[in-house]
Symmetry: C2
Subunit: 406 residues, 2 copies
Amino acid sequence: MALIVQKYGGTSVADLDRIRNVARRVVKTFEQGNQVVVILSAMAGVTDRLIEMANNMSKNPDRRELDVLLATGEQTTAALLAMWLKSQGHPSKSLLGFQAEVKTDCAYGNARIMDVGAGQIKKLLEDNNIVVVAGFQGCDADGNITTLGRGGSDTSAVAIAAALRADRCEIYTDVDGIYTADPNVCASARKLDRISCEEMLEMASLGAKVLHLRSVEFALKHHVPVWVRSSFNEEEGTMLVNGEHDMEREVVSSVTYNKNEARITLKKVPDQPGIAAKIFGPISDSGINVDMIIQNTRAGGQTDLTFTVPKTEYARALEIERKVAEQIGAEAVYGDENIAKVSVIGVGMKSHSGVAAKMFSTLAAENINIIMISTSEIRISCVVEQKQAELAVRALHTAFGLDKEK
Amino acid sequence: MALIVQKYGGTSVADLDRIRNVARRVVKTFEQGNQVVVILSAMAGVTDRLIEMANNMSKNPDRRELDVLLATGEQTTAALLAMWLKSQGHPSKSLLGFQAEVKTDCAYGNARIMDVGAGQIKKLLEDNNIVVVAGFQGCDADGNITTLGRGGSDTSAVAIAAALRADRCEIYTDVDGIYTADPNVCASARKLDRISCEEMLEMASLGAKVLHLRSVEFALKHHVPVWVRSSFNEEEGTMLVNGEHDMEREVVSSVTYNKNEARITLKKVPDQPGIAAKIFGPISDSGINVDMIIQNTRAGGQTDLTFTVPKTEYARALEIERKVAEQIGAEAVYGDENIAKVSVIGVGMKSHSGVAAKMFSTLAAENINIIMISTSEIRISCVVEQKQAELAVRALHTAFGLDKEK
């Protein structure tokens, strides 16, 4: 008998038929003699509709109340699933975030899980229940309802699996697992049987929507064995592994791209101490996340400074920087929304040199101009023209030997 | 400064515009220097849609899970109202049933409030908040979510008003107050300025949908001053008063009718001890509520027995009684869905005789046949043919001097 945590995402519970489909998977696992805890997202589209309703009530909805509103989405699916399980004769109970003792900080809309008191879940499991927990939600120390941010149900699942010391945490989604590249862009992409948590962290932070960033951090920290699988077929999916000892041997394990950023450049910025703070302070004060920053030194005590922000914040960031430029005496501010960030990721990079050089020469061979570059220990990212993103992904996928055998 | 509890029903919060309209009323009361606690129902129609969803998942949805599902309705409106108030610069916080410490028994779907720990509400009021509480819901001693049954938000409001020792509890609905009869049926019906809790109890138990039965019980027991008013105009509404000392002086204060019952008759039942238990036991075991029961003695050790059940349970009750009739040797079972119960209500009856006689003669003068009769200390009800219900109401309204002056 194993203790298995299964998380099903919004597309897996998008309507009542799909909830029944999920229920049948849950029952199958339960009838194989396992203890099962199910974590559910809201039905696909519901969270967006609730946000729309809130935006209709207020341009800037109160974050505490928005969380109270959003929490209804997962409450609905959890109740419906438990209801179906009961109607089929399987003992089951649903728990909301506060009932499952998912304790978070009080950062409404983007709360972090501080602790999961798994007492109630354990008690229900001992009574032979299938336990259904509303994902995405928790409560703070004062009993206020909080939500974990988009994709937060993944983190609910991994945190609950960690607290229960579950044998495995299965994340069910609408894709078969983690791929070497987006199969929609790169026909020769392969599904990975395994991926290291570190690589998954890089992928998640690059905007790959397969797993919530914090869920990977939790898996890494608490050594939770995580599987990413499809709820629509019986494929094995991809396993997240801690450490590199039994990783597949490619230096690069995946190629990703992200079209959700925009670039802003300040031209001829006076090269003085404290100037960066003047440029990025107002951006940070506005709650805009800056991703890449590049500074080129020019002759004559001046420098060009380029950075990227989420495309949704582009107009606001541009407006802020136009004021900043005036204050600090920069010559001009311009930007570009038509960019894409293409990255290669692999723990193998740690022990291999020449990856960057190979990336640059591959792009050059395709006549793709590199606009910005940033790197981590296991990742190299290049900003290119948006229209060349797909071509870049395919070229790099081939160059690093990731194409599936024909 | 007064402490005022305001409850708004489903039609008053049926859409976002109406929620804003409610919010403006709340703000007005608040800005007059009062402390305000708002209790909300779900948007009109939402609870029915959730029940439909549950029925799609299971023929007989698990009651615990159904409550988890239904509780989302009031959670939604509470969050939206608090959100709007905050966006307009008024400090406000929403509380769900468990956060407002509405403690109930564990009768899912029809839970009774055992206690309201008003600590959190008081604290928020002291911090100058407008407190918005999700009605209809509470939690049991084990922390499970419960709901109070249809119309239960009234009871939430009165119970919270009692716990807070509020100066008044205003129940906002889509009618101007309590009428001497349904104005849709009886054009000469008048709005009552006051009504006794006892009369209101009779009206609620007869199916008048203005107030939840238990809310009136609470008001009576805890001496909560309750006003029933419309949320769509500024009319004064109707005040519930405890005792009779300053009631209007009519013997009869209202005439009601109810078309939601059906009649079942067992003919020639052997007149033996224990026979009633054999007839009503199976009905009760099926969770069907019997309202009126009448037994006529016949010659020859046989009796005819007639009773009424909710129309929704008629088919099921008839089926049960056909089996019972066979077992006990009754001659026949037949029923009638085309009936209506017409009642006159008034605390004045306690000290006046002749009310029943006047009722019967009034109906006789209109050629209305009386099928069944039942009485309480302050009510007389007659079952008549359904098509004669409206005529009966109007005739009685006139006969008992309730018509408004022309």
